[in-house]
Amino acid sequence: MKELMLGNKAFARGLYEAGCSFVSSYPGTPSTEVTEEAVKYDEIYCEWAPNEKVAMEAAFGASLAGVRSYCGMKHVGLNVAADPLYTMSYTGVNGGIVICVADDAGMHSSQNEQDSRHHAIASKVPMLEPSDSGETLSFVKLAYDLSEEYDTPVIVKMCTRVAHSQSVVETSDRAQIARKPYEKNIPKNVMMPGNAIKRHPFVEERTAKLRDLAETASFNRVEMRDASASGKHVGIITCSTTYQYVREAFGNNVSVLKLGMVNPLPVNLIKDFAAKVDTLIVAEELDPIIENHCRALGLDVIGKDVLPICGEFSQNLLKKYLSPIVTGEEYSEDVTAVNDQIPMRPPVMCAGCPHRGLFYTLSKNKCTVLGDIGCYTLGAVAPLAAMDMTLCMGASVSAIHGFNKAGGGENEGKTVAVIGDSTFMHSGMTGLANIAYNQSDSTVIILDNSITGMTGHQQNPTTGLNIKGDPAGKIDLEALCRSMGFERVRVVDPYDLKACDEAVKEELAVKAPSVIISRRPCALLKNVKHNPPLRVNRDKCVGCKSCMKIGCPAISMKDGKAHIDNTLCVGCGICEQLCPVGAFESCQKED
């Protein structure tokens, strides 16, 4: 059947059709929907793991037990899971293992723009790279076959534009894959030096065999230009969504070598293609990986000397940089615009966001705030601007310890770490163990909004629900922190500014490590009951703008007085607590 399908949904369909029966992932844009779609198939067991390393090891265990397994993550997630990956390359698989890594060129929702192909090369694991939804579905199925035939995990690399674009796919039935028996095999699966030494040559031989496959397999294909085309014969080697931009920009005027497998890369296929064209270009987003491979083969190639390393490509970008080479003509954009400066519309904390009250408190107390990854990174945005550092998952809790040890009392008295509940489960706990063990007087604030917010509401080990929303184990944050040795653990409601202020002041003043749990569910959760919206009594409002300090999207100034957009306001009451003249009043929600 023909269907219009999101790339990530097509990935999940591929898992289904390939007979995958175990999925363990950690959410991360743009990879999340693969797992969210996979869970809709009853035949596949799915779970959210606390982090990517755990997810990959769980998938490895499932493979060991003999089933086809999957784990998915964003590019930075693969850094977390790199440890198992590099040695799973040695052990290989029992049931096939497919790993999704989704890169985010353009940084739509990420803290860096790393190119995951480096991980495939360094771990010596094959990597396939589809260019649309249809190819995603077929590559996932191919990946399982390769995984079992060549005894290796296989990475299928997505990017934002493939993951989050819908295109047409052809679906088919699920393959019936019997579970393979588990057989104890110490030399293959116990990676201590004596065994691993023997597995390394296997990995090298496997890579050589896969390279041979890459020379002839249909996932790498040559498309020669129209016979009628005149002028210099330009050939472009490309992969992923960039293939689509090449075809969009230059149609059939160029020949194309489209690489579906980006590790290992073929040698003779590339040399033969190069020999048939007058000018050879490599068009790839981010790092010059195919380009460097070509240069190592001694080929004269145009690549990052012309095309940018930073950011996403598009058809116009390719026209801008490559038209002079392909057609001999300069490309110029012809655009219209209004003369007014258009105000930016950056993402903001939602109206009623529980993080707002806490960040207002930190801003007011002029705290140094070591931040983490999640919606609350938006605490860095004006007018709150209450953040000094954001690095990676869990870094707030680890870094505050170093910051305070190095700076002593001067830092300890005004510095806090802030981390969300899901991020704390992901990799905040180990940092907290370091504070408990090596004793810095650090204050860690866990922003417990009862959900994984930024990636679109996934359950986690603190929510008490599993990926299907059914009851599951629930980790008690207070008990966890106390069991690590924290004597000062307290819970505040971030809608209560006075309580937040007291908690922050007291815990910063005390000479002991402490944890504040700022607890209130995400305002966007469907089961959260809100108060009626507030309205401004214009007779009372003096236009002092005290309520404007919190950066609430529901509040603006109209004719010198505060105004509340009652379609956005959820009656959280933070603004009301800041008003010196009591100008905010409750109103019943209009239907």
Partner: protein, 190 residues
């Protein structure tokens, strides 16, 4: 035929995903190759969002670039102006006149530009501006702004109304179907 480009722009949380789903379904049913590119993640938190819909015999790129859009459908006035550089010469804008203040306007750092419809028209763009929120409320729900806009968009598509209705029946939950059909008609006849 050459590939046609429709952009749907607005503010995160306004319901543009349903509009692109409807459009994708309609175009696929009509036998076109279709690509729809969406935005997920951080931008959804009240930021400026854009969806690209491309259709034709064979669509390659999933994105629309500057100067390429045949139609821009906008859920919010400022967003129409923001994305105007993506419109083709003589392209069509269909926009809701609703204004949602972005943070620099809320904090007082900038003003919301005035007379945007006239200013967009002055660039040569064809602009069809309507109060979708009022029409949606008339249809029965403020959330139907997306379908009001789709009704208006149907003017610029050479496709029978039955095809739109068929796509709507496939996408919209049954209990909201009548309300959405009314929203579609109100948008179409506005």
């Amino acid at each position: 035929m050459s590939t046609k480009n429709v952009m749907i722009v607005g503010v995160g949380g306004q319901g543009s995903l349903l509009a692109s789903k409807l459009l994708g379904r309609l175009l696929l049913d009509e036998g076109y190759d279709v690509k729809v590119s969406e935005v997920h993640g951080m931008s959804q938190r009240g930021g400026s969002v854009v969806t690209y819909v491309r259709y034709g015999e064979h669509v390659y790129s999933p994105v629309i670039d500057k100067g390429e859009a045949d139609v821009i459908v906008s859920f919010e006035l400022l967003e129409a102006a923001r994305w105007l550089p993506f419109l083709k010469k003589d392209g069509q804008i269909v926009t809701n006149i609703q204004q949602i203040d972005p943070m620099p306007v809320i904090t007082g750092a900038m003003e919301y530009p005035t007379e945007l419809v006239d200013k967009m028209k002055a660039t040569g763009a064809k602009v069809d501006a309507l109060d979708c929120l009022a029409l949606a409320e008339e249809a029965g729900s403020a959330k139907a702004v997306n379908i009001v806009l789709m009704g208006r968009l149907s003017h610029y598509f050479d496709m029978p109304e039955e095809a739109w209705m068929k796509a709507m029946e496939a996408i919209v939950p049954a209990k909201f179907l009548e309300m959405n059909k009314k929203a579609f008609e109100l948008g179409k006849n506005a």
